[in-house]
Symmetry: C2
Subunit: 490 residues, 2 copies
C-alpha cells in the first residue's frame, strides 16, 4: 500500500477525508450527502453501540422504536422546535410511482398524493411525545426512560463523512419525569454517561458544560454537552443532553395525576450521540500513517503477520504464530492472521497501520529460531522483540497501556492548547491558531454574535465549574460570572 | 389484570390484535400503518437480532450500512424489480418546509423541490449494487458478504401490527460471488440459517422450499423460503433467501476480472427476515391467557412473586426469595422480582402470564416454613411445589424443557394439520378449516392462479424434497413432478 494520504500538517481537512476513505470506513453514496458506512467503519459503530447500550441499561433505560415519519402538523406544535428543523427536512409527499407515459422509467403518480405530508424524522421528540400522551396517566407511570437506536435525516447544505451527513445513525433517549428536579438530574446523568464513554472507551478527554441560549437544542430550556478538541485545535461537539422542561408535554398535552391527585404537565429530557463520534475518534487520535484506534473500540486488536520466503517458510511461520493467535483469542482479544500470499509484508504493515490496528505481531525465521516475535504498537510506532512465552499477558498489558497512552496524549494536547485570555485583540489573533480559549463574556447574545462574526469562534460551553471566577467581558467590559470556552468548531 | 383478550377460538384475528396490545408489545402510531414497538416488544427484537447477528457472523458475514434513500432512476434499472415495488413507495420530493403564508403552521417550500425524487428504501438491492460497482473489480474482491440491519418502508394498503406494517425493521443480506454455484450455495446456506434460528430459538418448526415463479421476489431467479404454520392453520412466510443470478450486476454493470483475466458479471443473493418474526412467535405459541414465549427469546425468563399480608411479611418473603434471584442471575437467567405493593398477587400472576414469562416462582409464609416455592410454567400452566435447595438447577432444566415442549407442541400441531389430498373437490372443502395441503400441481401459473381465485390458497413452497413422488395435478390432471404445499397465508 503506497502512502496515499495527505499530511495532517499540510491540509488537515483533506487528511481527514483521505483517511476515512483509505481506511475503508465510509464513502459518499449516489445520494447527496448520504454516506455508505463500510464494514470496517460499521464495526467501530457496533462497538460504540454495544458499550453505550450497556451504559444506558445500567442506568435504567430500555430501548423502543418509534416511526420514521412525522406528520407535518406535529412539527409545528412546539414553536421553537419547528423553527429549528423546518428548513432541513426531507418531505414525503406521495406514496406511489407509475410507469412514465413516455415509456421511459417511472414517475410519481400524481393521484397518490398524501393528505398530509410526512417528514423523515430529524429527531423524534414530537412523535414520541404524541405517543407518551397515551402511556402516561398517573405518577405511577413515571418515569418513562426510553432510548431508540435509529437513523435520522437533516438536509444539511454542506456535508462531510461522519461529521455532518444528510442521513446519520444515532441514539436518542427520551425520558419523562414527575418533577423538574428529576428531569434535571437525568439531563446531568446522561451527559456524564457520555463523558465517561468518551474517556473510557474513545480515549477522548471532554469538557462538560451548558450551551448558551443561542446554541441550545430547538425546544430545550438547557442543553448540556461534551466538547472535545481535535488535533487542529478545533472543537467538536460529541454529545448533547437536553432539559426540555414541560415544553413538549404542553405541546402534546401530556398530563399526569400526581400522588396528591392533581393534574400536572410531565417534565422531560432528550439526549443523543451519533455516528459523528467516529469522526471525533479519527480526528482526535490519528496520524499521517492512518487511523489510531483505542484498543477498546478497535474491530481488530491484534494482527499477526508471518514474514517468509516461499511456501515452506510460510507454513513454518504460520505454525509458529498459530498458538499465539489461540492464546490471545482465549483471552477475548480480536485477532487476525494476515497470511495473504499476493502482497508483501511491507504492504501489509502499511495497510494495518492505515486501519489503526493497535498491535501488530510479526515473525520470520530468525524470530522463530530465537523464540521471539516482533511486537509493534500503533500509537507510538515502536517495535520490540518479545519472547513468545507469556506473549498473551504481554499483549493484554500493552493494549491497556495503549488505551491509556492515547487518552494521555489527547489530554496533554488539549491542555497545551487551552488558553486563558482576557484581551479581545489577543483573542482575535490567537484564535487563528486554534485551541480552546477561556474568556469572560457578558452573557448577551449580541456579544456572542459579534465574536462569532468577527472570529468564527463560538461559545462551545459554559463549563460546569465548582468555583467560578468572576471578571469582565473581553469585548464589552461588562461583568461576567465565569469564564466560558470559545473555539472554532466542526 | 382482568381477562381482557378475546378467545382465540372465537376470533383468531382479534385475539392476536388484543394480545399484541395487552402484552405491551406494540401499538399503532399516529402515522398510517407505522407501529410503535414498545420496550417489551423491542426487547424480543433485540434477542432475535443478537442470535441472528451471531449466526451471520459465524457464517462469514459482516455488517454495513447503506443509505435510506434510493434515487428514483435506480429503481427502474431492473425491470421486474421496479414492477414489484413502484406501487408501494414513499416518495421524497422536497427538502424544506416554510412558514405558511396564512401564518398557521408550516407548508412545503415549493422552491425546495428535488431534481430527482428519492424513494425511501423498500429493499436495498439497487443502492447496494450501485455501491458494489466500485468495490468489485477483480475475483480477489469476491465474495462480498454484507448484511444490514435497517428500517424499510412499503406502502401497504392493509396493515397489521408486526405482520404487515408500512415501516418495519429487518436485516437484509446482500452478497456477491464469482460463480453461479457459489451464489446458489449461499442462497441455500442462508435459508438454512433461518430454519435453524426458527427451530432453535423461536421453537418454530418450518418447511424449507422454493417459491413458484409468480411468488418470487421481484428480480430473483429463485426464492427459497421458510414457511410456518400458525394456530389457525394458516401459513406465515417467516424468511426468504433469493438467488438473483446476474440480474443486478447487469442492471448496475458490475463486472470483475476473473482469475483467467476475463470480464464477467457478478452473481448475487439477498436474504432477509423482519419484525414479522415477532408476529409469527405470537401466533404460533400463545393462548387465551396471553403470550407464550420460548425461554431463549423471552426478555424475562423468571418472575418472582412474594405472597404476603402486610409489610412485615413482605420483607420476610422478599428476603426468602432474594437468594433464589441471585442464584438464578449467577447462572445467566433474566429474573424480575415483582414486589409491587399496589396490586394483588392474582393481578401479578395474570400480568406475567399475559407477557409470557416462561417461569413464575411464588412463595408465601407456608412455603417459607417448608423451604419450598411454587413453580408455575407458562407453557402448560402447571404448578408444582419445589424445594429451594437446588432451585437454580431445577429452573435451568425447566427452561430447557419448556423450550423443547413449545417446539414439540407446534410440531405436533403442524403434523396433525398437514394433509395429503388428491381431489380438488376435497381440497376446496377442507381448505376452509385451514392446514397445509400436499397436492400435485401441473406447474403452470394459470392453474396456480385458478386455485388462488377459487380457494384463496396459494402455493407456499415447492418443498426441498430428496425423493419427490410424481403424480397428476389435482386440477388439470396433467403430470406433476412432486407435491407442493398449498395453504391460506398471512
Amino acid at each position: 500500500m503506497a502512502k496515499e494520504i495527505t499530511n495532517r500538517e499540510e491540509n488537515y481537512s483533506l487528511w481527514y477525508n483521505n483517511l476515512v476513505v483509505k481506511a475503508d470506513l465510509a464513502e459518499n453514496s449516489a445520494v447527496r450527502g448520504c454516506m455508505v458506512i463500510k464494514p470496517y467503519g460499521y464495526a467501530i459503530w457496533e462497538k460504540i453501540q454495544g458499550a453505550l447500550d450497556k451504559m444506558f441499561k445500567d442506568t435504567g433505560h430500555v430501548n423502543a422504536y418509534f416511526p420514521l415519519f412525522i406528520p407535518k402538523s406535529f412539527l409545528s406544535k412546539e414553536a421553537e422546535h419547528v423553527e429549528g428543523f423546518a428548513k432541513e427536512c426531507a418531505v414525503v409527499t406521495h406514496h406511489r410511482l407509475m410507469n412514465s407515459p413516455d415509456g421511459k422509467g417511472v414517475v410519481v403518480d400524481p393521484t397518490a398524493k398524501l393528505e398530509e405530508e410526512l417528514i423523515v424524522r430529524p429527531t423524534s421528540e414530537t412523535i414520541i411525545w404524541n405517543t407518551y400522551k397515551n402511556w402516561i396517566k398517573s405518577y405511577r407511570d413515571l418515569p418513562v426512560l426510553c432510548n431508540q437506536w435509529a437513523n435520522v435525516v437533516r438536509w444539511e447544505m454542506r456535508t462531510r463523512l461522519f461529521l455532518r451527513t444528510t442521513e446519520f445513525l444515532w441514539q436518542e433517549g427520551h425520558t419523562a419525569h414527575a418533577t423538574r428536579q428529576e428531569a434535571m438530574e437525568e439531563t446531568q446523568r446522561m451527559v456524564e454517561v457520555y463523558a465517561s464513554f468518551a474517556r473510557d472507551w474513545m480515549a477522548l478527554p471532554v469538557l462538560i458544560g451548558s450551551k448558551t441560549p443561542s446554541e441550545r437544542f430547538a425546544g430545550a430550556l438547557d442543553t448540556l454537552c461534551i466538547e472535545a478538541m481535535m488535533q487542529d485545535g478545533k472543537a467538536l461537539q460529541a454529545g448533547t443532553s437536553h432539559f426540555l422542561g414541560q415544553n413538549f408535554a404542553r405541546a402534546f398535552d401530556v398530563q399526569f395525576a400526581s400522588k396528591e391527585g392533581k393534574l400536572e404537565y410531565v417534565w422531560s429530557t432528550s439526549w443523543g450521540v451519533s455516528t459523528r463520534l467516529i469522526g471525533a475518534l479519527i480526528m482526535a487520535h490519528s496520524d499521517n500513517n492512518g487511523l489510531v484506534l483505542p484498543p477498546k473500540l478497535a474491530p481488530l486488536q491484534v494482527v499477526l503477520v508471518p514474514i517468509y520466503k516461499g511456501n515452506d517458510e510460510l507454513s513454518e511461520i504460520a505454525e509458529y504464530l498459530q498458538p499465539i493467535r489461540k492464546a490471545l483469542e482465549a483471552k477475548g482479544i480480536t485477532v487476525k492472521m494476515d497470511d495473504r500470499d499476493n502482497v508483501r509484508s511491507g504492504f501489509k504493515f502499511a495497510e494495518w497501520e492505515m486501519k489503526g490496528v493497535p498491535v501488530r505481531i510479526a515473525a520470520g525465521p530468525r524470530d522463530r529460531a530465537q523464540g521471539t516475535v516482533e511486537v509493534a504498537r500503533r500509537d507510538t510506532l515502536e517495535k520490540q522483540s518479545v519472547p513468545v512465552a507469556g506473549i498473551d499477558e504481554y499483549v493484554i498489558q500493552l493494549l491497556i497501556e495503549i488505551q491509556a497512552n492515547i487518552y494521555q496524549k489527547a489530554h496533554v494536547f488539549r491542555e497545551k492548547n487551552t488558553f486563558t485570555v482576557d484581551s479581545y485583540e489577543e483573542f482575535k489573533t490567537r484564535i487563528e491558531d486554534g485551541g480552546f480559549f477561556l474568556c469572560h463574556w457578558d452573557g448577551t447574545p449580541e456579544t456572542e454574535e459579534k465574536i462569532k462574526e468577527e472570529t468564527k469562534a463560538t461559545i462551545r460551553c459554559i463549563p460546569t465549574d465548582a468555583s467560578p471566577e468572576a471578571g469582565k467581558c473581553m469585548v464589552t467590559g461588562k461583568p461576567s460570572a465565569q469564564r466560558v470556552i470559545f473555539a472554532r468548531a466542526y
